[in-house]
């Protein structure tokens, strides 16, 4: 077993230093992942500041989800390490909320019971968390659905439930693995706005994996672009757009400049 609190070297990560933000919440230090002979990720190196909204952008199957699962402690890196706060990640942690590509709700549990699942599993005080769950459901316009079963909900509503489930334990870090990719374009836009609204309230550190350039640019403070085979970080772009952001920002020139920058980063990687 790994030591509970590993000593962390104090060299600040470049991107964080450049951003001038306080101590990073998450550090990914030259993390590689190989499956047998296949190298999935090669030396990924980045840090996420406390309260920062970071997107990892890349084509499907480039290993960005694998990277996220390693941050979540659900997969171990082949080499390198992930550090959250002062602690080395060596397994799932109570202060991380994860949202998956599909909502993975339990069909036999009501919306409220689904949201309360992490509370039950971590034996947290029930009453206080029921209150918190109610607040979250209210913010996500699901309060009348608290006693409904998932099958009675639309796809977008189900994914909102799974976001509430991730937030109910008040995690420091929210990890999202292409959470809106199964939704239609209109719902997807709505969900993006909704997520930003939630983030504006709770200010979690977010790592958001996506293959949508516009989604990444719209949501993030910073976007990391991953290339293919083996996945490496090919660009690290700060999105300096004012907040709170509305969907109308997507028509502005600065937004579209960022979209072009990100697209060029992806295409440059594909050229060779």
């Amino acid at each position: 077993m790994l030591p509970k609190a590993a000593a962390i070297d104090e060299t600040p990560n470049r991107s964080t230093a450049a951003a001038g933000i306080a101590a990073p919440a998450v550090r990914v230090e030259s993390v590689s992942k190989a499956y047998g002979d296949i190298e999935a990720i090669r030396r990924a190196d980045f840090a996420v500041a406390e309260g920062e909204f970071l997107s990892i952008l890349g084509p499907s199957g480039c290993g960005k989800s694998t990277l996220l699962m390693m941050v979540a402690g659900l997969l171990g890196p082949s080499s390198g390490r992930v550090v959250i706060g002062e602690r080395l990640v060596d397994g799932p942690r109570a202060d991380i909320g994860v949202v998956f590509q599909s909502p993975v709700l339990l069909p036999w549990r009501t919306v409220m019971e689904n949201v309360m699942l992490p509370v039950e599993m971590q034996h947290l005080p029930r009453e206080a968390h029921v209150r918190r769950a109610r607040e979250l459901l209210a913010v996500t316009h699901l309060e009348e659905f608290a006693n409904r079963l998932p099958r009675e909900l639309s796809g977008g509503m189900r994914q909102r439930v799974s976001i509430c489930r991730a937030l109910v334990i008040d995690p420091r870090i929210l990890l999202m693995d292409e959470p809106f990719s199964a939704l239609d374009a209109i719902t997807r836009d709505e969900m993006g706005q909704e997520l930003l609204r939630l983030w504006q309230i709770h200010r979690k550190t977010v790592i958001f994996v996506t293959h949508s350039i516009r989604e990444a640019a719209f949501l993030s403070d910073r976007v990391i672009v991953m290339g293919r085979r083996p996945a490496t970080i090919v660009a690290d772009v700060r999105i300096d757009l004012p907040r709170p952001r509305a969907l109308s920002i997507e028509e502005t020139e600065p937004f579209n400049r960022y979209v072009r920058t990100l697209r060029q980063a992806i295409e440059a990687n594909h050229a060779h």
Binding site: L74, P92, F100, V104, L149, R151, E152, L153
Partner: protein, 261 residues
């Protein structure tokens, strides 16, 4: 499962009545002897007049069926849990269980008689053995979680093995377990009847064989009617419980009526 009133079994009832009427008419028309084929009315008479005999023989059959079935449910789920959590058993034992399914279990009945003599133990064991396999296989399928993200979710929220079993695997398996139980209960009836054919002094299987030997065909058919009613009732109880336990499974057609996108 009927969802609309007009899907309720009106037509099967009409067909059944028609069939019985044709049967009655044919027996009447051709003067078929009751030893060969009694008319439905004669079977009904046998049912009404011999109900005490039928009831006496129904009880042991019912009791052994329920006992064998209960053992197969407990044993089947138990083995399924072992297979789910032990890689050695999953790789070594489970394939054997799947393959031995093809053995006609009733052919083992005489062996049980050699071992345990006639009576309760042999009959229960045969019922258990016949009903066991669908239980194991259904439960194993049910305990297996196909959705990788579902297990990741449970682990990400720090679910222990026990919590994951109790809160995820077990409810996930319930529809499969009930499907297994519906197969098993009908098989358990077969197991008990075969055991009573070969080795018993009581039970409906014994009564069927006995009335055959006595050329009392109306009583034989009456016994079959009682036996069928028993099987149907047991199946009905499980189907009834299933609907209540697995409340989250949508009735076909209900999905369209769900909340708008």
């Amino acid at each position: 499962m009927p969802t609309k009133l007009k899907d309720l079994p009106v037509w099967p009832v009409v067909f059944m009545l028609g069939f019985l009427l044709v049967w009655e008419a044919v027996v009447d028309l051709y003067k078929v002897r009751p030893i060969i084929l009694p008319a439905p009315s004669q079977v009904a008479v046998a049912l009404a007049q011999r109900w005490d005999v039928l009831l006496t023989h129904l009880l042991p059959t019912l009791w052994l069926t329920v006992l064998g079935f209960a053992l197969s449910v407990v044993g089947g789920i138990g083995v399924a849990i072992l297979v789910t959590y032990s890689e050695v058993l999953r790789k070594g034992l489970y394939p054997i269980i799947v393959v031995t399914q093809v053995v006609p279990k009733v052919s083992i009945a005489p062996l049980f008689i050699v071992w345990f003599d006639t009576g309760l133990v042999s009959s229960t064991l045969l019922a258990f053995l016949v009903a066991f396999f669908p239980m194991v296989i259904n439960a194993v399928v049910g305990f297996h979680i196909h959705d990788e993200d579902l297990l990741r979710m449970a682990r990400a929220y720090m679910g222990s093995r026990w919590q994951i079993f109790l809160k995820i695997r077990l409810p996930n398996a319930m529809p499969y377990i009930f499907a297994g139980m519906k197969i098993s209960i009908t098989l358990a009836v077969i197991g008990v009847i075969v055991a009573e054919f070969v080795a018993s002094q009581e039970g409906l299987g014994y009564l069927i064989k006995l009335s055959g030997g006595l050329f009392d065909t109306p009583l034989m058919l009456a016994s079959i009617v009682v036996l069928s009613a028993m099987g149907l009732a047991l199946y009905g109880i499980i189907a009834w419980a299933e609907k209540r336990v697995i409340y989250w499974q949508s009735v076909p057609g209900a999905e369209a009526a769900a909340a708008p996108a």
